[in-house]
C-alpha cells in the first residue's frame, strides 16, 4: 500500500517536469500552429547553456538560469524571426522538416562541443534534500519545486494569454491569422515574441531537467516525445490540460517502472496510445483542432 502511494506521489511529481516540457510546445502550437520537432533538443541545449553559465560565473544553477533567461528569450525571438517565420504557410512540410534539420544540427553541435558524456546541474544540498511525509514516504525537494514551477509557469502563461495586450495578440493570431493582420497586428513580431516566451519556458524546463536527472546531447528526442504525449493526453488548447496530461504520463511511467524497471518508458507510450484510442481529443479538450 505504501509502495503504491509512493508511486502515485512520485508519478505526480514527475508529471510536473513533463508539464514543463509540454508547456512550451503547447504555447508554440497554440499561437502559430507550429509543431517544433527540435523542442526536446532545445530543452537540452538550454540545459547546456545553464551549465556553462553556472560553471563560468561560478553560480548556483538557479541563479545561472536567471542569467540565461534573457539570452534564451532573445535566441528564441531571433530563431523565429529569421528562420521559422519563413516556413509558415499552408504547407505542413517546411516547418516540420526545418525543425527536424534543426534537431540534428543541435544534437551534433552539442556532441561536438561537449562530447557524449552525461552532465548534471549541481546545486549542493538541495539536490538530495527531501521532506519526510511519515509512513516511509519522502518527497524530494527538487521534484516538489519542479511541480510548483510547472504550476507557476502555467499560472503566468494564463495571465499573459488572458490579461495582457500581448496575450490578446496571441489569441487573435491563433483564431484567425488574416483578420489579426487586418487589425494591424505584425504577426512576424508576435510569432517571434511567442517563441521568445516559449524559450523562457524551455529554460525553466531545462533547469529542472538538469537538477533531476543526467542529460547528454542525445537526450532531446525523448523529451520531445514526452512533451508531445503530455499535450495530446491533456487535450489541445489548455495549459491546465497539459499539466494533467503530464501527470497522467508521469503516473503511467512511475507505475510501469514499479512493475519492471525496463517498462518505465514503454508504459508511458502505451498510456498515450490508449488515450489516443479511447479519447482521441485528449482527456480535457478545449480547442477544435
Amino acid at each position: 500500500m505504501t509502495g503504491l502511494l509512493d508511486a502515485l506521489i512520485q508519478g505526480v511529481l514527475l508529471g510536473g517536469l513533463y508539464a514543463l516540457f509540454a508547456a512550451g510546445l503547447s504555447l508554440i502550437f497554440g499561437v502559430m500552429r507550429l509543431v517544433n520537432l527540435a523542442h526536446g533538443d532545445l530543452i537540452v541545449l538550454a540545459a547546456f547553456v545553464i551549465l556553462v553559465v553556472a560553471e563560468k560565473l561560478g553560480l548556483d544553477p538557479f541563479a545561472a538560469a536567471l542569467v540565461a533567461l534573457p539570452v534564451l528569450f532573445a535566441a528564441g525571438f531571433a530563431l523565429q524571426y529569421v528562420l521559422l517565420n519563413r516556413t509558415l504557410g499552408r504547407d505542413l512540410l517546411p516547418p516540420l522538416l526545418v525543425t527536424f534539420g534543426l534537431s540534428i544540427i543541435i544534437q551534433n553541435g552539442l556532441l561536438q562541443l561537449f562530447s557524449a558524456d552525461s552532465q548534471r546541474l549541481r546545486s549542493g544540498a538541495i539536490e538530495t534534500a527531501s521532506i519526510a511525509l511519515g509512513g516511509g514516504i519522502a518527497i524530494g525537494v527538487v521534484p516538489l519545486l519542479t511541480l510548483l514551477g510547472a504550476v507557476l509557469v502555467i499560472v503566468i502563461l494564463n495571465l499573459i494569454f488572458y490579461r495582457t495586450p500581448l496575450g490578446r495578440a496571441f489569441r487573435a493570431t491563433s483564431d484567425d491569422l488574416d483578420v489579426a493582420q487586418l487589425m494591424g497586428i505584425d504577426i512576424r513580431r508576435v510569432f517571434a515574441t511567442a517563441m521568445g516566451v516559449a524559450f523562457t519556458v524551455i529554460a525553466i524546463a531545462a533547469l529542472y531537467l538538469g537538477l533531476r536527472a543526467n542529460f547528454d546531447p542525445t537526450s532531446g528526442p525523448a523529451r520531445l516525445l514526452y512533451a508531445f504525449e503530455a499535450v495530446i493526453i491533456g487535450g489541445l488548447g489548455s495549459f491546465w490540460g497539459t499539466l494533467a496530461g503530464g501527470i497522467v504520463l508521469g503516473l503511467a511511467q512511475t507505475i510501469g517502472a514499479r512493475i519492471d524497471p525496463e517498462w518505465q518508458i514503454l508504459s508511458g507510450h502505451l498510456a498515450f496510445l490508449a488515450v489516443l484510442v479511447l479519447r482521441p481529443r485528449g482527456l480535457f479538450p478545449r480547442a477544435q483542432d
Binding site: 509543431v35 520537432l37 505542413l92 527536424f100 534539420g101 544540427i105 551534433n108 507510450h269
Partner: protein, 365 residues
C-alpha cells in the same frame, strides 16, 4: 462571314518523348545491373546494395509524404520490424532468408493496419510525432524479446545464410567463395526489391488511386466532395508503404547480419537520412529520390569521417533546400528543361483547329 470558333480538341497526355527514352534506358540499365556481378568487385556490389535499399526506402517515404501528405518520422518502425522478423524466421524457424523477406513484408502490412487506425487519429504535424512514438514502442518492445537478444541484439551466424536459395549456382557460375556469393544473392534481392518498389509506386500513381492522391494533395475537401474516400486511400498507401519498408528492412538486416533494437529502429539511419535524400532530390517526384541518393552517397563517401560536422552539414543543407528550393534538385532541373522521366503527372494538351499549328498547353500541378 463569321465562322464558329474551331472545335477544340484536347487529350490527356502523360508520357513525353524524354520519358519514352527514359523507359527504354531503364530497361537497359536494369539488364546491365542484373549482369553486373559477373564483372564487378565485392566493394562495388556492397555499395550498390546500400544505394538500392536507401533509394527504395526513399521512394516509400516519398510516396507517403510527397503524394499522400502523410509525413512520417516513424518509418524505422517497419525497417526494424522487418529486420527482426527476418532474424526470427531464419534463426528460430529455419526458413530460407529469401522466403523470409516477403513474409516480413506481409507481416508488416498486417501490423500497419492497427497502427494506422491509431496514428490516423492525429492530424498533420502531430501525425509525424505519433508515428515516432509508435516506432519507439516497437523498439522498446523488441528490446524485451530475450529470444532475439533483448536490448543488446543478436547476430545471424554465417551458416544460417550460407545455405540460402541459389547460392551453389552463384558459386559455380561466378567462381566465388561463399561470402561473395552471399553478397551477390543479396544484391539481386535488393535489385528486385528496388525494381518492384518503383514499379508498384509508378503503377499506383498512374492508376485511379494515384489520381485520387493528387486530388487529396491539392485540395482535401474538394477531393472528398468529388467522392474520393480519403481515409481509405490514405490507409491503402500507408499499408502498402509499410509492406515495402518491411521487406527492405528484412533485406537490410540480411546484409548486415547483426541486429539490435537501437540500430534497427534508428530514427537517424532509416528516417532522417531518407528524408534528406527525398528533400535534396525533390519531393513529390519519382526522379528526385534517385538524384538525392546519389548526392547522399557522394557526401557520405567523402565527408562521413567528419562525424558530427557531417551531420550538421546534412541538416543545414536540408534546411537551405527546404527554404530556397522546396522542389529539390530535380525540381530545378525539371523546371528549367521541362523534362520528366517517370511521367506521373497528367498534362492537358489542347489542339487548336484551322491552319494554325496545334497549340499545346501543359497543365501543371
Amino acid at each position: 462571314m463569321t465562322d464558329a470558333a474551331p472545335p477544340q480538341a484536347f487529350r490527356i497526355e502523360t508520357a513525353g518523348r524524354a520519358s519514352r527514352i527514359a523507359a527504354v534506358c531503364a530497361c537497359v540499365i536494369l539488364l546491365v545491373l542484373v549482369a553486373l556481378p559477373a564483372v564487378a568487385g565485392r566493394n562495388l556490389i556492397q555499395d550498390l546494395i546500400f544505394l538500392f535499399y536507401m533509394l527504395a526506402l526513399a521512394q516509400c517515404w516519398n510516396l507517403l509524404a510527397g503524394h499522400a501528405g502523410l509525413i512520417s518520422v516513424g518509418q524505422q518502425a517497419f525497417v526494424g520490424f522487418g529486420g527482426y522478423l527476418l532474424f526470427a524466421l531464419t534463426l528460430r524457424a529455419g526458413i530460407d532468408p529469401l522466403l523470409a523477406i516477403p513474409i516480413a513484408g506481409l507481416a508488416s502490412a498486417i501490423v500497419a493496419v492497427p497502427t494506422a487506425l491509431i496514428v490516423f487519429r492525429l492530424r498533420g504535424a502531430y501525425f509525424a510525432i505519433g508515428t515516432w512514438v509508435v516506432a519507439e514502442v516497437f523498439r522498446l518492445s523488441f528490446a524485451q524479446v530475450k529470444g532475439l537478444g533483448g536490448g543488446t541484439g543478436t547476430s545471424l551466424p554465417p551458416q544460417a545464410t550460407s545455405g540460402v536459395f541459389g547460392i551453389e549456382g552463384v558459386k559455380t557460375l561466378f567462381e566465388v567463395r561463399t561470402p561473395a556469393a552471399r553478397d551477390i544473392i543479396t544484391y539481386w534481392a535488393a535489385l528486385v526489391l528496388l525494381a518492384a518498389t518503383l514499379a508498384v509506386i509508378y503503377a499506383l500513381l498512374r492508376s485511379r488511386r494515384g489520381l485520387a492522391l493528387g486530388a487529396i494533395r491539392d485540395h482535401e475537401a474538394a477531393a472528398a466532395g468529388l467522392g474520393v474516400d480519403i481515409y481509405r486511400v490514405k490507409l491503402a498507401v500507408y499499408v502498402a508503404s509499410a509492406a515495402m519498408t518491411g521487406m527492405i528492412g528484412a533485406l537490410i538486416y540480411l546484409q548486415k547480419a547483426r541486429i539490435s533494437p537501437d540500430a534497427a529502429f534508428s530514427v537517424l539511419d532509416w528516417t532522417a537520412y531518407v528524408i534528406f535524400i527525398v528533400v535534396i532530390g525533390g519531393i513529390g517526384t519519382m526522379e528526385g529520390p534517385v538524384v538525392g541518393v546519389l548526392v547522399f552517397h557522394l557526401l557520405q563517401r567523402y565527408l562521413a569521417d567528419f562525424g558530427a560536422w557531417y551531420l550538421i552539414l546534412l541538416g543545414t543543407l536540408g534546411i537551405v533546400v527546404m527554404l530556397f528550393a522546396p522542389r529539390g534538385i530535380w525540381g530545378l532541373i525539371a523546371e528549367r528543361y521541362d523534362v520528366t522521366l517517370f511521367p506521373i503527372r497528367r498534362r492537358l494538351v489542347i489542339e487548336g483547329g484551322g491552319d494554325e499549328a496545334s497549340r499545346t498547353k501543359a497543365v501543371r500541378d
